[in-house]
Symmetry: C2
Subunit: 321 residues, 2 copies
């Protein structure tokens, strides 16, 4: 970066939108916001170059956008509406001010889609690689939160959208594959917009017990939920929603182990099934994939028989891009 | 790191302290806290390896501690009490779980000193270098904040502690200098504890107009304050408090340009001078160094005559370690 921190901060002020609750925005030691009494959700999530993305196939615009999406996804998964965000960017020398500008434009686009206000953050030089770390503050829509620890015996398990899209999109980008029929998957990897309208309908219908987002792969994330809830999940292989190109390529495992789809995974009491069925009837992208029983872990069934759990699950310590 | 994210997160849960206002802590997509109505301050600040520190002369314990101190410093400078923090750590392969543990212990130590509760955050792998990025949420002690934009004509300018200590400490660490007489300076670089008791007294006495912390050097930080306040600062070279080893070495410039002291810089109306004088009388580490007038920028006077502004000021884009 050829510009100084002082002038850069002046440059990003344009991304700070007016908000009645913001008393003092970018330009001070910290931001000041007026909050009503209530329950707030706090998340913070980072993406690092060469681990979560390569600039060779991911424009900084998408790096910024996806970094904010992934945090908003966590806020929604807790049952909260996102309000504010702060962002720290670690910038290597080679990164240009134009790339920096596009990264903030990507964030700003995501922020406008969800009505989130930029409060501040930090910009630091790094020796080698780019990183971006965002924190988001949200407010619970109701008094209760949708925790990973809330799954109950007899609950049904559902997901939004399709799984494995982002993993297939990443594979296409990395291997420079023929992208025909994979545009939707590539878009899901680059720009995984959380299903906001659907989330609002789920909240309004007061369906869920537990909820989380699918960021590291269905099996790994569901096992975390079961771990926190001290329950067992039984899911049915043939019910897991996946994009057609996954089946065509025999890569169904990516729907179980591929991460970064940022779809919502939730459980709901069986007595709420009529509500969920009505949503499905109306064409909403919700699929029931299994049920919660007593026990531990995740078990996978195919045509009624238990099969070994498909491999994978993206653990950011264990596996690198 | 040889351990998985799952097991690591279990490991850091021990640093999450009980707090009545925390409904849901570490272990979910986000943390949930109950907040009273009011004005809250949000800050987020990072440190990157090879830019802000080297592990060769800074144990991870101090990296963690200092990263939290620097954020708490920003919260105090806005006039708020720190409440919660979230932390993202970017971890290269070579970093051991023992080093990681020490980094969290350092943070935990700082957190206990200020009564701050760990709410969550993220741990990500990095390709090369360590980074740590912390966000802190605080609540304003009064309705007003201490902004950089609040300096008024006729205000006096004061600082806490001594300036240039951390810069001299860093120099000793980097150059492996004889550390006799420099232990205090080295401590200030490694563990720059914000002057909390003094801050409380300042808040209780309701003295300040503008306040900020001295993180990038007196001249640069004061010029930022004047920029935001649209005023001019006149400071007196011989009044700036500096440690004896700085004078002994003829390195007085470090008191003007050296960063990372995390002392508090504030302005106050002349009519509050008796209160400040009484604090000084009682031995509090407060020094009046100049005054605010109309105009722009920072002017330095020595024995009554204007001199060129001492060089320096640490801009994290412009200058690297």
């Amino acid at each position: 970066m050829e510009i100084s921190e002082n002038s850069f901060i002046k440059g990003i002020r344009k991304f700070s939108r007016k908000s009645n609750s913001v008393i003092r925005g970018i330009g001070d030691d910290g931001a000041v916001a007026e909050l009503a009494a209530g329950r707030y959700v706090f998340v913070q999530d980072a993406m690092a170059e060469h681990v979560h993305f390569e600039l060779s196939f991911m424009d900084p615009y998408y790096v910024g956008k996806k970094a904010l999406y992934s945090n908003i996804s966590d806020i929604l998964a807790m049952g909260a509406e996102p309000l504010f965000y702060l962002v720290t960017v670690g910038i290597p020398e080679r990164f240009s001010s134009g790339e920096m500008e596009r990264m903030y434009q990507g964030m700003d686009r995501a922020a406008r889609e969800f009505g989130v206000t930029l409060l501040g953050g930090d910009t630091v030089a790094t020796a080698k690689d780019l990183f971006i770390d965002i924190s988001v503050i949200g407010k619970l829509a109701a008094a209760r939160y949708f925790g990973r620890d809330k799954a109950r015996n007899g609950d049904l398990i559902a997901v939004t959208g399709r799984l494995g899209e982002a993993a297939l999109g990443l594979r296409a980008l990395k291997e420079g594959q023929d992208a025909r029929n994979l545009k939707g998957c590539i878009r899901r990897f680059l720009s995984p917009r959380p299903p906001y309208a659907l989330w609002k309908e789920i909240v309004k219908n007061d369906i869920t017990d537990a909820m989380m987002d699918v960021s590291d792969g269905l099996i790994l994330d569901l096992s975390r939920m079961m771990d926190e809830s001290k329950k067992q999940a039984r899911i049915h292989w043939e019910k897991v929603p996946m994009p057609r190109p996954l089946r065509q390529r025999g890569l169904e495992e990516l729907a179980f182990g591929g991460g970064e789809d940022y779809q919502l995974l939730f459980t709901f009491p069986r007595k709420r099934l009529p509500v969920v069925a009505a949503m499905i009837e109306k064409g909403r992208a919700v699929t029931i994939i299994g049920e919660v029983v007593s026990g531990r872990g995740v078990r996978v069934y195919r045509h009624g028989s238990e099969i070994p759990s498909p491999p994978g699950g993206y653990d950011h310590f264990g596996e690198r891009m």
